[in-house]
C-alpha cells in the first residue's frame, strides 16, 4: 500500500512540475518550440513563435538573431526590419537589435544604413572586434576601402 502511495506522489510531482513549468514559464515553452523548428530549419514555422515572444517582451540570448535569421531565410525582410527598427526607436541602447538590423541591411545591400548602425553599436562597445569586422566588411562592400582598412586594422589592434 505504501509503495502505491509513493508512486502516486511521484506521478503527481512529475505532473505538477510539468504543468507548473508550462504555467509559470510559458515564454520558455514557446521559445523552445520556436527553437525546435529553427534547429530543423523550418524557419517559417519558427517565426510565429519568435514574433509572439517579442510581442510579449520576452528576451533570450538567441531570440533576436534567430528571429532575424528566420526572416532572412523566408525572405520576410520587411517584417524583420519593422520590428528591429521599432526596437531601436524605442530603446536606442538595445544593441543586439542594432546589430541584427545592420546585418539585415547588409543582406539587402543597404550598406550605408548598416554602416551607421554598426558605428552606433561600436560607440557603446568599441572593443567588440566582431562587430568592427562586420563594419569593415560593410564598408568594403560599399566601396569605402580606405575606411574599411582603418576598421580592419583597428580590429586587429594595429
Amino acid at each position: 500500500m505504501r509503495r502505491y502511495v509513493v508512486i502516486l506522489i511521484l506521478i503527481a510531482a512529475a505532473l505538477f512540475t510539468t504543468v507548473a513549468y508550462h504555467l509559470f514559464k510559458p515564454d520558455w515553452v514557446i521559445f523552445r518550440k520556436g527553437e525546435g523548428y529553427f534547429a530543423k530549419k523550418e524557419y517559417s514555422k519558427a517565426i510565429p513563435y519568435y514574433a509572439r515572444l517579442l510581442k510579449d517582451g520576452f528576451e533570450a540570448p538567441k531570440l533576436l538573431s534567430h528571429f532575424g535569421t528566420s526572416c532572412v531565410a523566408t525572405g520576410d525582410f520587411g517584417k524583420a526590419i519593422t520590428i528591429f527598427e521599432d526596437i531601436i526607436k524605442q530603446s536606442p541602447d538595445k544593441l543586439s537589435a542594432v546589430k541584427e538590423l545592420a546585418n539585415i541591411y547588409v543582406i539587402f545591400g543597404r550598406f550605408k544604413k548598416a554602416v551607421m548602425l554598426y558605428q552606433t553599436f561600436l560607440e557603446d562597445q568599441p572593443d567588440n572586434t566582431y562587430v568592427r569586422i562586420l563594419l569593415a566588411r560593410a564598408l568594403t562592400w560599399s566601396g569605402r576601402f580606405e575606411e574599411a582598412i582603418v576598421e580592419y586594422k583597428a580590429a586587429l589592434g594595429e
Binding site: 517579442l54 526607436k89 562597445q125 576601402f145 582598412i149 586587429l156
Partner: protein, 225 residues
Amino acid sequence: MENIRIRRFLSTCISLGFFFIFGTSYAFSEENPQKFYVPQSIQETSVSKTKMVKPGEEIPDWVARWELARVLSYTKRYDESITEYERVLKEKPDLVDAKVELAKVLFWKGDDKTAIKILEKIPPKNITGDTKVLMADLFVTQKDYGKAEPLYRAHLNSHPEDRAVRLKLAEMLSWQKKYDASLAEYKKILKAQPDDIQVRRRYAFVLIWAGRHSEAALELKKTLN
C-alpha cells in the same frame, strides 16, 4: 518475490524520474529570461535596461587579416597587401586560396616571377579553373607559351563557354605561329558570337599571317557591313 517487488519499484522510480526530468528540462536548459523593451509595432508597453551583446561571435584574426589584405589590394596598396597575405600564410600555410590571391597581387604589382613561383608550389589537385587561367596568364607574360597552353586548354575543357579565355588561347597560338590551331579557336568564338566585329578582325589578321589573304579579305569585308 521480494526481488521482483524491488525491481518493479526501481523501474517505476526510474520511469518517473525520467518523466520528472523531461517535465523540468526547460527549467534547467536556459538562462533566466530578461524582459526588455517591446517594439511599438507590437505593443505599447516598454522598457528595460540593455545588456551587453553576448560574446561567442568571433572572427579569427587571420580571417580579418586576409580580408584586410584583399581590401589593400583593391586600393592598389600592393606592398602592404602582400605583407598581410604573407602574415596570413605564415599562420595558415595551407590556405591555397590565399596563395592564389597573393600571386594575383604580385602579378598586378608586376612581380610575375614570384607569382609563378608561388603558384607552381600549389599541388595540381588544388588548382581550380580560375587559378589555371591565372597561371597561364602569368606564363604568357613570361612568354612561356608551352606551359600556358595546356592550362588554358584544361580550363576550356571544363568551361567551353568561356570565350574570354578561348580568345586568349587563340591569340597566344597566333603569336606562336600555330595559325591553324589559332583559327580553329577563333572559329569557335565566332560561331558563338558571329556579330563580334573585333574578334572577326583579329581572325582576319591571323588569316593574313597564315597567308590566306582572300579569306581574310572576306572576313574583313564582313566587319565593314
